[in-house]
């Protein structure tokens, strides 16, 4: 049997998809989280409920949306609700099991930055900002984070805290009365990190095949703790890889298709 080849991105997406159990209600961010959630739905978790912050509830897109509000998401949804309802009734109301986030920076307690690099008033890089991430990080029963691991993204100190994880650790989040449990799993392109039960500092608990502890430590901006029983994950299954590649292929076709706007012939007569 020939060996399966795959990219680090594919391994990361498939690993993230495996974290999602069937029938969970998942609040999905765009990009890697969206790819992982839809892969899970197309493989082991057909009844995963996907909610995008654009208000599409229980959506089942055939290809990946470029934005969180593509028409495909609305057409395949069980319900499309106004945005204030998604945040008030679904998220703050406590109906979301898993929130799925990415960011530009993460610290050892799973706090996230998606606002600025540098000072807030005089940023070197102005990032898009919070969106719904702070509310997702607060209210989802648990949070999954997916991010590529590097010293620039896994930092000792955030430039700005956009979304709260375990705050300063050691039960600080619980003490503040946050409804959700916080970031239980961080999936990177090297392995998986989870919080220590007492300190709540993220520790490396699993490595991808072919990745080393040294690589993981070198890609982390703080002294990375490693779990005693570190697991070496299996390479992706051929079926998962096939499903992911087909999903990306359908997406590429969908995003490249030209748009034509049907303009009524009498438009000029009607006060445009």
């Amino acid at each position: 049997m020939s060996e399966i080849t795959y990219t680090a991105d594919e391994m990361m997406t498939i690993t993230a998809a495996r974290q999602l159990r069937n029938r969970a209600v998942c609040f999905v961010g765009i990009g890697l989280p969206s790819a992982a959630c839809n892969l899970a739905r197309l493989t082991h978790a057909p009844d995963l409920v996907l909610i995008y912050e654009s208000g599409t509830v229980g959506t089942r897109p055939d290809s990946l949306p470029l934005s969180i509000g593509d028409g495909e998401l609305a057409e395949t949804a069980v319900a499309v609700v106004p945005l204030p309802e998604v945040f008030s009734y679904y998220l703050q109301g406590g109906r979301v099991d898993v929130g799925f986030l990415g960011a530009a920076q993460i610290d050892r307690f799973g706090n996230l930055n998606s606002t600025v690099i540098g000072e807030y008033e005089r940023p070197t890089v102005r990032l898009p900002g919070a969106g719904g991430a702070p509310e997702i990080a607060t209210h989802a029963r648990e949070v999954l984070i997916i991010m590529k691991q590097s010293p620039r993204s896994f930092v000792a100190s955030l430039d700005f805290r956009t979304s709260g994880g375990y705050l300063e650790g050691h039960g600080a989040r619980r003490a503040q009365g946050c409804p959700g449990a916080g970031p239980r799993t961080v999936i990177t392109d090297i392995g998986i990190l989870r919080p220590h039960p007492q300190t709540e500092e993220l520790r490396l608990v699993a490595l991808y095949p072919g990745k080393t502890l040294q690589e993981a430590k070198a890609a982390t901006g703080w002294p990375l703790q490693v779990d005693d029983d570190i697991e070496i994950l299996a390479p992706p299954e051929a079926a998962d890889l096939r499903a992911l590649r087909e999903l990306h292929a359908r997406t590429a076709v969908a995003h490249a298709s030209p748009v034509r706007i049907p303009i009524p012939l009498n438009a000029n007569a009607r006060g445009r």
């Binding site: 765009i30 990009g31 654009s54 208000g55 599409t56 949306p65 470029l66 934005s67 969180i68 509000g69 028409g71 609305a74 499309v80 106004p82 945005l83 204030p84 945040f87 008030s88 998220l91 703050q92 606002t115 890089v125 102005r126 990032l127 898009p128 900002g129 919070a130 969106g131 719904g132 702070p134 509310e135 607060t138 700005f160 805290r161 956009t162 979304s163 709260g164 994880g165 705050l167 989040r173 503040q176 009365g177 409804p179 916080g182 969908a254 995003h255 490249a256 298709s257 030209p258 748009v259 034509r260 706007i261 049907p262 303009i263 009524p264 438009a267 000029n268 009607r270 006060g271 445009r272």
Partner: protein, 282 residues
């Protein structure tokens, strides 16, 4: 209410220095109205939108905007808004003041504004730097009944809210379908509502619980087919994802941006001319 040309609607209702919300959550973004504001050279606007994207990038880069109230400013699925970044990072073409929120905050702020309340409430979230750093002025208060920690967000009441929608009927009632974002809340919170629509129909294709803005809350309706392009109008045309990807290149440097805007917005008379030049009208 008779529909009026968009040029007239903007000239009559949008003035320098006003607070103007152009809502739309990736869907039904009022591009045609934004372009008309650019053509009419409005200045010092205080723009509001939860998810400012390409049309706000264009208005900021063309110098129409003094202040931006927002909760996520990017090119969805593509990356940064280069003109927004240039304004914040290098004050080009002018300094841009930011009033920055989260989505949850901005949603309750519009709801409060629409409800005649001074502020909106939500549960206090895990502690972040935004409340402190942002000029949005949110405060943390205890619930008077339970003592639970809450975040109070000042209401938003724009001078003008501009929306794009699918249909207006003969009496001037407007139907909005599909992903609606905070369109209804932004309209009900505003002192003046302008709507562009895809078409006028005898009778709206509206189910009983559809989102219909009654004619009497709307100051002006303009019929602008394709008025949301390159975003989309559900049931009429899809989002041009390719254009959003191309915008990343167009907006990257100042000169390329300015010459694109000159040719595609300033030198065309209206939105039909814009679509024709881009080769997207059938």
């Amino acid at each position: 209410m008779e529909p009026m040309p968009l040029r007239e609607a903007i000239a009559r209702h949008v003035h320098d220095g006003q607070s103007v919300a152009l809502e739309g959550f990736t869907h039904l973004i009022p591009f045609a109205a934004g372009h008309e504001i650019i053509r009419q050279r409005r200045r010092d606007l205080q723009l509001l939108r939860m998810t400012p994207d390409v049309i706000f990038d264009q208005m900021i880069g063309m110098g129409c905007v003094r202040q931006l109230t927002f909760s996520w400013g990017g090119n969805p699925g593509v990356g940064s808004l280069h003109r927004l970044r240039d304004a914040v990072e290098h004050q080009w073409p002018a300094p841009l003041a930011l009033i920055e929120h989260t989505h949850g905050e901005m949603a309750v702020a519009y709801q409060a504004g629409a409800s005649g309340l001074p502020c909106g409430l939500m549960r206090r979230g895990a502690q972040t730097d935004l409340a402190q750093a942002s000029a949005a002025g949110v405060r943390h208060v205890p619930c008077p009944f339970s003592g639970i920690a809450l975040t109070a967000v000042p209401a938003i009441n724009p001078d003008v809210t501009i929306l794009h929608a699918q249909q207006v009927d003969a009496a001037g009632n407007v139907l909005i379908r599909g992903i609606v974002g905070a369109a209804k809340e932004a309209a009900m919170a505003a002192r003046c509502v302008i709507v562009t629509v895809e078409e006028q129909v005898e009778r709206l294709e509206a189910d009983i619980n559809s989102i219909v803005l009654p004619a009497w809350i709307i100051a002006a309706v303009s019929i602008v087919p394709g008025g949301a392009y390159p975003s989309y109008a559900h049931g009429y045309y899809p989002r041009d994802n390719r254009f959003y990807q191309e915008w990343d290149v167009i907006a990257r440097d100042r000169q390329g941006f300015e010459s694109w805007m000159q040719r595609h917005v300033l030198e065309v008379p209206d939105h039909a001319g814009h679509l024709q030049l881009l080769g997207v009208s059938a």
